[in-house]
């Protein structure tokens, strides 16, 4: 009995010492990346007063969707990719009942930049509902990217420098769940305008009014989170890209009698959008272990090796 007791004490002391802490986690061995999403937040102004009438407006969008589904939820147009979203243009339409009549805003066009599977991008656009008998209108011409700013997240703990960029490591065979906070900045920063020719005072007022409305500062700057999974034996990082674009509009005067349109001014609206995505690649020296999760490519058991195979200890 003494032998049994002393042996048990020794053995269980060893067992107790082996557990210094227990940590529950969500561990999986395979995953599919979430579909990419792009969200356009639409602001609608009444043409005479430039009052925000978004809540009482009807918004819809049209495009030749390329590999994505489109849904309108209130004043948000949401694209969900069939995994990734390719570059494409979305035409936004808005209408509202003003003074008892349904009136529409000139269509706006938003250029969606490519978004990888699991990535998130956000945009904003302002539209002005015009009175039916208004002599002046505006027309979207084009967008141009004028600036970009790329940021990278800082891993908690030890980051690893590879080719000038900081990566976090997942050295286990498990898929890890990760959440990274980033600054989601999107909206209208402002506008500039110019006259074409020597327009009348009335035309000048129209140009200024449209510029004030379309370029009304309306910036969203909210801390947001991108949730993603990390493949086994990988290194990963998160990028946040802010894109500044200039949207060009022409202000036109329509002759009620002849229906001839005359360009009286130009407006440039500066708009910012944000695109956040996760990137990962094989851990150095573990290229054979690394298999990207479903959604990036098919997963096969075989991967290239240098010819010598693997010995597992038994």
């Amino acid at each position: 009995m003494k032998k049994i007791f002393s042996s048990l004490v020794l053995a269980f002391a060893v067992l107790a010492g082996l557990f210094s802490s227990c940590n529950p986690e969500e561990i999986e061995t395979t995953f599919e990346a979430n579909p990419a999403t792009a969200t356009i937040t639409v602001t609608v102004l009444e043409g005479e007063t430039l009052v925000d009438i978004t809540s009482s407006s009807t918004i819809n969008a049209a495009s030749n969707l390329l590999g994505a589904d489109l849904k309108v939820n209130g004043n948000k147009i949401i694209l969900t990719g069939n995994k990734a979203i390719v570059a494409q243009k979305i035409t936004v339409n808005a209408s509202a009942t003003v003074e008892g009549a349904v009136k529409s805003a000139p269509a706006a066009e938003v250029s969606i930049t490519p978004v990888l599977a699991g990535g998130i991008s956000t945009y904003a656009v302002t539209m002005i509902i015009l009175p039916a008998d208004h002599d002046y209108s505006y027309k979207f011409i084009k967008s141009e990217v004028v600036d970009e700013e790329l940021g990278q997240f800082t891993p908690k703990g030890t980051g690893h420098d590879h080719e000038g960029q900081i990566w976090a490591y997942n050295e286990s065979e498990f898929v890890l769940d990760a959440v990274v906070k980033y600054d989601d900045i999107h909206g209208i920063e402002g506008s500039t305008y110019s006259f074409v020719g020597i327009p009348t005072l009335e035309a000048q007022d129209a140009v200024k009014a449209f510029a004030a409305g379309l370029g009304k500062e309306n910036l969203y700057n909210v801390p947001s989170y991108i949730e993603f999974k990390v493949s086994a034996f990988s290194m990963y990082t998160v990028y946040g890209l802010h894109i500044w674009e200039d949207d060009y509009y022409d202000v036109i005067r329509k002759n009620a009698e002849t229906s001839v349109e005359t360009k009286v001014g130009e407006i440039i609206v500066t708009r910012v959008s944000t695109n956040a995505w996760k990137a990962e690649k094989a851990l150095p020296g573990h290229e054979g272990h690394y298999h990207p999760g479903h959604g990036h490519q098919d997963v096969h058991g075989y991967s290239s090796n240098a010819g010598g195979g693997i010995f597992f200890a038994n």
């Binding site: 032998k3 042996s7 048990l8 557990f19 986690e25 561990i27 054979g288 090796n305 195979g309 200890a313």
Partner: protein, 388 residues
């Protein structure tokens, strides 16, 4: 000459004492008019066949083989495994999985030198290699993996292993740290019909934990044929040093099962197996294996194929080598430090995702079950120059 009851009892006591003195545990001995039966559990020899040969020599020295049939029932963690029968008419020993009248006669006798509470510190040296990068032949991981092992009650085994890295090239940060290995509580049992079983619970290989049931049945009509089955519910976990991380997302445990058919060829000293399995990634696979058993090592070759489109044909070889010392002593109640085996499995197709099998005890290897193979024992004990 008939033996009186008192003389039989004295002789059986003397034989039991001699067996205990030779290092055997869980010793019982009993004699009647026609039969002399002992039970022994090998605690002094690394190889089961070596231990049984030593037990036979003790019986010879004690003069037991005097025209009476003699039986040795070999146990393992107090569970009877095989019966060795000496037939004086033939003058040979014959081993079988069957338990017969000898076991019925001896099992109620008092045991001497119980193995309960004996503690071993078993060192498992481990070497892993991988050829995954072009500019280096092999990256390697060298580990010493000692385990504390003991039996708290009949049939049970507790094993708690620690992995100590000696050299780590390319196996990642987690293997750089000293961390626990397999930690298991197993219960062995035997039920009528020649069915051997083991239930295990704890932390297994390949970062799995859970419970497992293994069953083994050699056929009575021909013990060369046998079937095996395994069923387990496994979850995912890993160690970061001594921090234990375990999965809580659904499903927390997933089933794994396998079914295997074996044939042992005494002529070739080899076992041929065909196995079908369902793995944790919900994939199915078939595996063919051949293992050649030598005295101190076993070498096997295998081919496996997944039944889904992802898992390609894979194959390789495996080996297990019994490490010295091959004979050892136990000194009182002090834990005994010894080695077990070293083994590896070569994976030619670099397969790391599919076909993941599991070990449920640190000592599991391709040699172990063959230790009580009746045909193997008969061949081995004949090589120990035993005078029948």
């Amino acid at each position: 000459m008939l033996t009186t009851g008192l003389m039989a009892q004295e002789r059986s006591v003397g034989v039991a004492e001699a067996l205990v003195k030779s290092g055997f545990t869980n010793v019982r001995a009993v004699e009647n008019d026609s039969l002399f039966v002992v039970t022994v559990e090998n605690d002094a020899y690394k190889l089961q066949a070596s231990g049984l040969a030593a037990a036979i020599r003790v019986l010879e020295e004690q003069g037991v083989m005097d025209g009476k049939s003699v039986k040795i029932v070999a146990t393992y963690y107090n569970v009877p495994q095989v019966t060795l029968t000496y037939n004086p008419a033939v003058g040979r020993w014959k081993t079988s999985y069957r338990l017969d009248d000898g076991w019925k006669l001896v099992k109620r006798e008092a045991k001497s030198n119980s193995s309960i509470g004996n503690v071993d510190i078993v060192v498992y040296p481990q070497l892993s290699l991988m050829n995954l990068i072009i500019d280096q032949v092999y990256q390697s991981l060298w580990q010493l993996s000692p385990a504390v092992e003991f039996s708290p009650w009949p049939g049970a085994k507790v094993s708690a292993q620690v992995k100590i890295p000696l050299f780590n090239d390319g196996y990642g940060e987690l293997e750089d740290k000293v961390h626990p290995g397999l930690i298991t509580l197993s219960q062995r049992f035997r039920i009528p019909g020649n069915i051997f079983g083991r239930v295990s619970a704890g932390l297994f290989s390949n970062n799995r934990h859970g419970v497992a049931l293994d069953l083994y049945h050699p056929f009575s009509f021909n013990e060369r044929f046998s079937i095996e089955g395994s069923f387990s519910m496994l979850g995912l976990s890993y160690w970061r040093g001594f921090e234990f991380h375990y999965n809580v997302s659904s499903p927390v445990l997933k089933p794994y099962w396998s079914a295997k058919v074996n044939y042992y060829s005494p002529l070739l000293g080899s076992q041929f197996s065909a196995k079908v399995q369902k793995f944790l990634l919900d994939d199915y696979g078939v595996k063919g294996e051949m293992v050649r058993h030598f005295r101190y090592c076993s070498i096997g070759f295998y081919l496996e194929k997944g039944l889904n489109s992802y898992a390609r044909l894979n194959g390789g070889f495996s080996f297990a080598i019994t490490l010295p010392p091959y004979r050892y002593r136990r000194y009182g109640h002090a834990p005994r430090v010894t080695t077990s085996f070293i083994g590896m499995t070569y994976n030619a197709n670099n397969e790391q995702r599919w076909f993941k099998e599991n070990k449920y005890e640190a000592g599991d290897n391709i040699m172990e079950k063959n230790g009580f193979n009746p045909y193997y024992i008969d061949k081995e004990i004949s090589r120990y120059n035993i005078n029948y």
